[in-house]
Amino acid sequence: MRTQKGWILGFLGLIGVVKLPDIMYAVTGFGPWTDLVHLLWFLWFLNFIPDFDQGEA
């Protein structure tokens, strides 16, 4: 298991957690649907996924 080089950028995904109330309002129809764009912040979390060596689960 090897950590990705840019793992520290994964923390930008936390902005998605902060924006979660807006996303929830958009999902439930109480806020503008354009707020769903904040879901994209979660993609930064992908930087945390390590590279697995061959044979590792």
């Binding site: 090897r2 950590t3 990705q4 793992w7 520290i8 979660l20 979660f42 945390f48 390590p50 590279d51």
Partner: protein
Amino acid sequence: METLEEQFLAYQAVLDWMDIFAIAFAIFFIGDCLFDFCFKRRPGWKETFANGFIFLVNAGLDVLGFGLLFILGLVIFEPLAVFDIPKSWWYWPLTLLAADLSYYWMHRLEHEIRLFWAVHVVHHSSPEFNTSTAFRLSWVESLYEWIFLVPMILLGFGVVETLIAILIVIQYQSWIHTEKIGRLGFLDKIFNTPSAHRVHHGSTPDCIDKNYGGILMLWDHLFGTYQSEPEKNIYGITTPLGTSNPFTINFAEFGAIGRDVIRLKGMKNKLLALFGRPGATEQKENSQ
């Protein structure tokens, strides 16, 4: 005097953020399951379903009032508080720190006293380690875990603040049950990160009884139980259960203790089977 409900309402903003964190974890859990399903990364789904079933029963027990025991137990001790801690700016950091320390010792004793281990083993007995493991908590934990918070109440921390602080410590740990997040550098030494917690769930000799911390690894460094992640890790317990039956998962160790207490001769040996370290009975028998 404010009622408990009114005191909880004063912290509504904190509770709202805890809800948001729970939703974020639910998204993470679904994403984790979908990823593993699409890329066939789990050996099977029996363990995941068992963890889900255990979680649902726990939710039902909370509705039935098991969670209330936590509050009632602490309320009884509130009038016996020695100090009256003023609610200054440092009150909350101190409450969180005290809750984290209480959690450390509760967690450590759950690993080192067999009767408590019989309860906590539920969380450790899965040979898999993924987000669903966070849901795998014993059905009887809430019957006694409040006892470990009594020292905080006696010191003068408020019941509501103590409960919120321990809930934060417990909820923090939901995201760390994963292999999808690699090592996080220096943070692994300061906080309970996925890497630090993978060590805690390991069953190899270098991982057993290590990394008990809730949020901070500070306590593990202080009390000598810190271990950094090895290259290879085997999750689960040293004697695998070999079943995904939620009832066996919850009560198998109690059965083993009962059999040992009946089988062993002498009060000392019976007490060792109940309150000794897990494995102490076998160790003693093998050395004789």
